[in-house]
Symmetry: D2
Subunit: 118 residues, 4 copies
Amino acid sequence: MSEADFDRVRRQVREFVAARDWDQFHSPKNLAMALIVEAAELVEHFQWLSEAESADLPPEKLALVEQELADIQVYLISLAAKLNLDLIAAVDKKMLLNAQKYPVDKARGNSKKYNEYE
Amino acid sequence: MSEADFDRVRRQVREFVAARDWDQFHSPKNLAMALIVEAAELVEHFQWLSEAESADLPPEKLALVEQELADIQVYLISLAAKLNLDLIAAVDKKMLLNAQKYPVDKARGNSKKYNEYE
Amino acid sequence: MSEADFDRVRRQVREFVAARDWDQFHSPKNLAMALIVEAAELVEHFQWLSEAESADLPPEKLALVEQELADIQVYLISLAAKLNLDLIAAVDKKMLLNAQKYPVDKARGNSKKYNEYE
Amino acid sequence: MSEADFDRVRRQVREFVAARDWDQFHSPKNLAMALIVEAAELVEHFQWLSEAESADLPPEKLALVEQELADIQVYLISLAAKLNLDLIAAVDKKMLLNAQKYPVDKARGNSKKYNEYE
């Protein structure tokens, strides 16, 4: 993956939406709804599987899961663009907060207090 | 944003999880659940706002929304890594499918048939 | 609606699941996932509609929304039964908490502080 | 539980909302968003638990889960009322459809084709 790739994807998503005149539907409120709908389609693939099965998907199911991940990424990029936010910078800032919230010595292997990334 | 950035983020997420020995909780099933929980925290910020208000957030609310976008991106990266999937390649493939599914001449400005990225 | 109805629905759901030997898949964890997937199918019907349009659905769309509400109610009943919880008693208790959390004089028409039922 | 109970709950929810003049925020679109946010708070309680753990919650966690179930039920009642739909009648109709979609002899114990209530 190269940076050109990530920027290219963002540009392609923007052009895809503009070409269809769909920007009128893309309020942040609506995009957040669309994103959670895609997240649920992802969850649906896993809902009746054991955790072990979820880590060992047959190829045809993995291909469907890959599509859901892509849908989520596309809406995430669209929403960030709409709000003038930089996803990578946002992750950088959040990872610093997470490191403070979950210091290694206290968080290590702790399932009881496990409460990651809230 | 540079490619080094996106790859760096992926590596940092992996190291963050490994340092805390949290990999044991990160089955794809559980990560999908965590991702939708973060998506809902995003939705919560918008649920009582009008669409216009959602496009004009006050700075302190925008900062919270930015954190939710980061959380979703982090889980998306974690889940893709767990499944040995490349997010950018996944988006590339999906955008081709979307272009076939929603040809510009039919989809243009069409809210009735609007059914993007399903 | 009569009480016989609500209890009958609960019994019918239980028998439906038992007849298909599906209880083995119905851990609370899995039922919670199934419930949110149905909630997302509900959200999907509304995601590109304006608020006004969402209050004035054409009959064929209303019929689909009705099915999603039913699906959510069925999983809610199943999950409550699995956890030995009484849904009506749970609502009674929560409504008392909500009344304390949102006193009428402070909450009245207040969209800024509007934060219902969290 | 008696019918008086279920109807009483519906009436109390309606009066609670009316007393606070919150009806103005309760478009079906917004209520669907609120419902999925509550569903996610339910999912959050289960996301890092094994399926076995999810069926054996400590009392203090069970009490929190009970509150989430109540929140979902309240929004479900509010949304059905807003759309002039009868939840019990909706479930009755859906259970008939489910019985046709999943005949006992084919569905019995079948995890591969398990795809309940979609």
